[in-house]
Symmetry: C2
Subunit: 233 residues, 2 copies
């Protein structure tokens, strides 16, 4: 219909067809204006529409870039990052930022059903999809119940496999709480987002087959790169 919507559709198709891969830089607004024979404002209107759909992201002084497609992440009683990413056709990745064993805070003790001050093992890290960071996590485990977990986490790089090595063959999610928060400066750096970008903060408790808590997970998802889906089956 309108000029700007035709331009937006043209760019949309170029992105969908793969001619403009994820992360690639679009031509400058001026160049696009010349290509389509319109004013720069008209191009900007088209780019605003694409940005609203989450297809592109612009950075002042740098340019406009094709955003990564959002990955579907189902939330349910069985939540496995690795499997979910593979099901979504992405290559999962994980990097640990730090690990430590210390006394539990009041909140951690309550979440894990421990005595206050009991030892817990805490791991911080980044979850990635196709090499791009999509979430920051902090996992807290009851240290006394899971001896050798620190080494297992480091060697396996997988929560599921590390827990299996500590005798926890299976675990399920008991609860999930979701709130929206703005990215802090540190979070923004790790997730390659701007400060204040919307994050989904997920607080989860995973329990073993007997219902005893084995992990307290605090995950901050990059809201625009991950779509959470609910399936309480």
């Amino acid at each position: 219909m309108t000029l700007w919507s035709r331009i937006a559709d043209t760019l949309r198709r170029e992105i969908a067809e793969g001619a403009r891969p994820e992360g690639s830089k679009l031509p400058t607004e001026g160049a696009l204006a010349a290509r389509f024979g319109v004013n720069r404002h008209t191009v900007r209107r088209a780019l605003a529409a694409l940005a609203e759909d989450g297809l592109v992201r612009s950075r002042r002084g740098a340019g406009t870039f094709v955003a990564a497609a959002t990955t579907e992440y189902p939330l349910g009683r069985r939540v496995r990052f690795r499997q979910s990413m593979q099901a979504a056709g992405r290559v999962p990745g994980k990097r640990f930022l730090s690990q430590e064993t210390r006394s539990a805070t009041v909140e951690e003790a309550r979440a894990l059903d421990l005595q206050p001050g009991a030892p817990v093992h805490v791991a911080d890290g980044i979850s990635m999809a196709d090499g791009q960071p999509v979430a920051l996590f902090r996992s807290t485990f009851p240290a006394e119940r899971l001896p050798g977990l620190a080494e297992a986490l480091a060697s396996e790089g997988s929560v599921t496999r590390a827990l299996a090595m500590c005798g926890v063959d299976d675990y399920t999610r008991a609860s999930t709480r979701l709130i929206a928060v703005a990215a802090t400066a540190e979070e923004a750096v790790h997730l390659h987002l701007g400060v204040g970008a919307p994050l989904i903060l997920s607080e989860a408790i995973n329990v073993d087959a007997e219902g005893r808590p084995v992990e307290h997970g605090l995950t901050r998802f990059a809201g625009e790169r991950i779509a959470l889906t609910l399936d309480h089956a």
Copy 2:
């Protein structure tokens, strides 16, 4: 910071404080430009930001109007329209459009775990908040397991109470699937929306305490009047 964001914030607060009630018409773009001493384009940028947040809606030739506040509707294992609306400070309402008992389609039979062709009771209706339509629903029940449901629905006007009269004291949601659709002409009429308005189509299965399906719900929410929230605690 910017001119347009300051103008947007000013208008946002006027709306939040109730100085500009729902449905009221904002001053014309020209009038706002004069009031803030800026160009009309700057006012348009501010109004675009408000429209993106869903706070206002503009109609060419008519003006810009304050949109009705969205109602929060939590989705989880226990989903009760009446209670959720009351919790959100709204007066819930329900109107049945039609009811019939017939043979189940293939999809309905699979959803309710019935033999194809088994009798089902189907109720169509409108859900309202503060007298305004917010959703169209179609509930399908296994007729053989719930004798007398039709009369119960008609007399009680509540799914929860009607099921209770049929011996289902409690039910929980087993699964929810959400997709976005455009409103058909008929849906638009019932929901007081334009044709093509975005709807959220929710397909849900509710089960009794033993896990047997008791209701298959197909609900079309007016996307701009209801915000679905997920909290499966």
